[in-house]
Symmetry: D2
Subunit: 116 residues, 4 copies
């Protein structure tokens, strides 16, 4: 199994920057795994909130309004931040975890099979 | 502003693999921005579900059980998958969005200031 | 199966008040089942947000601060509002649904059995 | 301010039944406010999961399939269960909280004003 992202990778660089950021603000005691999963789900919900009253057409066009587009971009950043923070606390490399999950899903969902 | 992750990066590689995976299964029509934010929040909740009844101590030790650890790892993979899928649909580079958000947060939360 | 809450009940009274409230503001076109489940999950996340950085002890004592207690109370109201709105749109009586679920859970989780 | 639901009301009856159910299974130690908000958000996400890949038209018609309709009904029951459990732990009457919130929202959102 993996440990954290490989040194020098994009996710390792971001994780290190986030850890420095939290350390400088003395936030680490709050960043327990249980609290981080809560924060991750809250940030995901803040993305949902942007889309909840939009029609599918409005949702597909959400980036055309610069202010709202920037809002979406910031919430995506927040989700990534807590995902990396959680993965780091637990010793997981999210990129490797996703590669492994795709191998597993390729068997679970064979190409061309019906349904989701 | 960014567009998608820079070619050759880890996130660009994963995004391309996810797009191929979805295309082979004809899932793209379902992967609208509105549906993807819903799926992202559902996967985040599946992480929360693993932790909801654990004490802080049990939560901190969640990876010590191999089966549960693998479950956590898979849910982290799922969150990353939908986050990358959503960002790709919207033309956002999540890594650059996070770098920009950290710059903004460094001003909002000066080091050493009290509270979260 | 049930339809909506029985006339005269507390939940029927609240549902009727919510429907009048939405009609007066022309919000009904937005209140589709898909949008209402999204809004429900967002309101639940706003409750999570209040608790995410609290220790278990602070969380248990959350109502002792009047301002935060009122915040919790308002978010609970919001969750109930969208739950009733969704149930009404779908023709479900939430109270009867819960009574039926408890009968089912009483079989699934016999008293005295270990674990959750 | 309220305390718990008034004796004899529908929500008081359900709350009492839920408390008995939990007591018989020794679940109360797990039902801290922090854990209950997590469980509430997870159940809300299970509702979202049912709707996430549906078109607005399919979502509006979700109850026409008996099995899926029953699934929706059970998830609505689960959300109500954790909402009542949380409110009970915190000494909140959800029905009264919602009445008070509607008074507040009637001022915040005057009838006929544009937008959400």
């Amino acid at each position: 199994m993996d440990t954290t992202p490989p040194a020098g990778s994009e996710l390792a660089e971001l994780t290190a920057a986030l850890n420095t950021f939290s350390a400088e603000r003395h936030w680490q005691p709050f960043h327990t795994p249980k609290n981080l999963v809560m924060a991750l789900s809250v940030e995901a919900a803040e993305l949902v909130e942007i889309f909840q009253w939009l029609t599918p057409e409005q949702a597909a066009d959400v980036m055309s309004d610069p202010e709202r587009g920037e809002h979406v971009r910031e919430e995506i950043a927040d989700v990534l931040a807590y995902l990396l923070g959680l993965a780091d606390k637990l010793g997981i490399d999210p990129a490797q975890a996703l590669r492994d999950k795709m191998v597993k899903n390729a068997i679970k969902y064979p190409p061309g099979a019906p349904g989701l």
